[in-house]
Amino acid sequence: MAEIALVEAVQLALARAMEEDETVLVLGEDVGVNGGVFRATDGLLARFGDKRVFDTPLAEALLAGISVGLGAQGFRPVTEFQFMGFFYPAIDQVANHAGRLRNRTRGRLTCPIVLRAPFGGGIHAPEHHSESFEAMFAHIPGIRVVIPSSPARAYGLLLAAIRDPDPVVFLEPKRVYRAPKEEVADDGTAAPLDCCFTLREGNDITLVTWGAMVQETLAAAETLSGQGVEAEVIDVATLKPLDMATILTSVEHTGRCVIIHEAPLSGGFGGEIAARLADRGLVSLTAPVKRVAGFDTVMPLPRLEEHYMPSARRILAAVREILEYA
């Protein structure tokens, strides 16, 4: 089995889903002939034809809106937003329609759609191309927010998202689009939604993260292990709805928790996890819950972006501070 990158795993999952279900469509700007700006849809037009793969006019609200219409008619569109920074005009459709259609019609019309977007910094992209606003989506009722962090999970979670009968916002950390690679079996097996993945077990501290920060966190955990500290690393994967049980169980035996995300600190999804720990896990905690996050600034242009995004070093500093509590 060959090792593939995350973006190739996305492509593999799309092809598999289109193969197994003819109602699965791919829509977006430049997803057809060009195969997507990151090549996530490369080859799909040639393989499945122009009745399944659509280059749309350049209009993001429209992309989400036609997906809602197609979804209500029983299609399963997988719609690409070129960069998360261009997703904002479509939030109206997600919040006012996609997340509400099943509820407001009492199940008469449903919205089995997937809205994909690459997100996050670290690839020296132009302005508006590096943002992380997953927390805005996580606040919207009726949808799922899913973020893979490795090629295998991208493959499995995207298949699960496409097969899911409800709308999914699927955010792909583009900093890890090309590397690291791993072996992915293209056997059509979906990964579970609504569930965290424990990537590394440890008894001393729980590190909770998602997206591209998983790599930084695993690197920090490796360093800590060399210093005799065993960190448990949890990839949240589905932010909404949140699998808090896995996080609480981990914190019950470690007593410490640091949450790491690239998005701005205030109002970030780490705050929700910290609040639930305060609500349900306080008696297990032997130290404050610490968040390592982006600053409450505008995402800087590439010359300074390395200083914005949490690094393994910044994670280690937070962990050391937390370990100082007896």
Binding site: A59, G65, I66, R102, G107, R108, L109
Partner: protein, 363 residues
């Protein structure tokens, strides 16, 4: 100078405000007896609107948007559609929805604050009312794309207001419909007022119909108080759409005789004299004159119809008022196909709270 593009917008009317035919009537309108169902649909809508406003004024219905004066747009559109087409209304299209088979009780439930009101027993694929203005235009394009992909001879009908034509999303949807020749008809109910903003402050364009030209398809303006003109234009547009000829925009020029909704007070921004003057153009009077002149309608017919519609509306209102409130936990039960774990916890909390409150009431 070389002219590289030009266009003209056609205006269509069959009946003048006195009900006189100004040109040969289309086939469906030649026998006056065939127009009676359209007349009935308009009268029923007006009865319904009056009842809904009365229910709101007496605290038994929430905010409601009357279609007073615009009944011809709704009846003409609804009558032009086939059952297998899909209607995507905004929030003033009850007249069209009734012709599609949506129950009056359902719409009262919706405006009365109950989600079950959008679970129409009749037109199962029709969209529910769309409150965020113009956001349903893209849904119509998506529905039309679904028809096109399946090779079905069906069309989507999206009804918008004049205000909605200022929204970018509406143009985005029209643009796509033009490029892909989607089977969709955009019906613009130009009732002159978007709450307090008049049509001339909405756009500098001469007509709203010509907005279709920029999107690469045809637009037509009709007298929106002439139900024959509305039905004829929408029917032609639908035939074109179903046969692969692409989209059309039908601008129906009418007038909102009521407030925007029951929470609006139009006297704050428009003269009563303007409104009074518009009553002479209203659509029900026009068709009644036409039918009466043709000997197809009598005073007795009118009285009987008013009584029938009143009874039908009363029965619907009684059924609405007698519908029990949904269980509190129903707010969770249609959010996802299966309730996720963290929501199950919240639901259990609400059920427990409601149980406690019930106990207190019992005590």
């Amino acid at each position: 100078m070389t002219e590289i593009a030009s266009f003209a917008i056609e205006y269509r009317r069959f009946l003048d405000p006195d009900g006189q035919a100004v040109q040969p009537l289309p086939a469906f309108a030649q026998d006056p007896a065939d127009l009676i169902p359209l007349y009935r649909a308009m009268v029923l809508t007006r009865s319904f609107d009056a009842k809904a406003v009365a229910l709101q004024r007496t605290g038994r219905l929430g905010t409601f948007a009357s279609s007073l004066g615009q009944e011809a747009v709704m009846a003409g559109t609804g009558a032009a559609m086939r059952p297998e087409d899909v209607l995507l209304p905004s929030f003033r299209e009850q007249g069209a929805q009734f012709l599609r088979g949506a129950a009056m009780t359902d719409l009262l439930l919706y405006w009365g604050g109950d989600e079950r009101g959008s679970d129409f027993a009749g037109p199962r694929e029709d969209f529910p009312i769309c409150v965020p203005v113009g956001t349903h235009a893209a849904h119509a394009a998506g529905v039309a794309l679904a028809f096109q992909l399946r090779g079905e001879a069906r069309a989507a009908v999206c009804v918008l207001g004049d205000g909605a034509t200022s929204k970018g999303e509406v143009y985005e949807a029209m643009n796509l419909a033009g490029v892909w020749r989607l089977p969709v008809v955009f019906v613009v109910n130009n009732n002159q007022w978007a709450i307090s903003v008049p049509r001339e402050r909405q756009t500098a364009a001469q007509t709203l119909a010509q907005k279709a030209i920029a999107a690469g398809f045809g637009g037509v303006q009709v007298d929106g108080n002439d139900v024959i003109a509305v039905r004829d234009a929408v029917e032609r547009a639908l035939e074109q759409a179903r046969s692969g000829g692409g989209p059309t925009l039908v601008e129906a020029v009418t007038y909102r005789l009521s407030d925007h909704t029951t929470v609006d007070d139009a006297s704050r921004y428009r003269d009563d004299a303007e409104v009074s003057a518009r009553w002479k153009d209203e659509p029900i009077l026009r068709l009644r004159r036409h039918l009466t002149d043709a000997g197809a309608w009598s005073k007795e017919d009118e009285e009987r119809l008013i009584a029938e519609c009143g009874e039908e509306v009363e029965a619907a209102a009684e059924a609405y008022l007698a519908t029990p409130v949904q269980p509190v936990e129903s707010m969770f039960d249609w959010l996802y196909a299966e309730l996720p774990g963290d929501l199950a916890e919240q639901r259990a909390g609400l059920v427990a709270e409601a149980g406690l409150a019930g106990g207190e009431n019992d005590g």
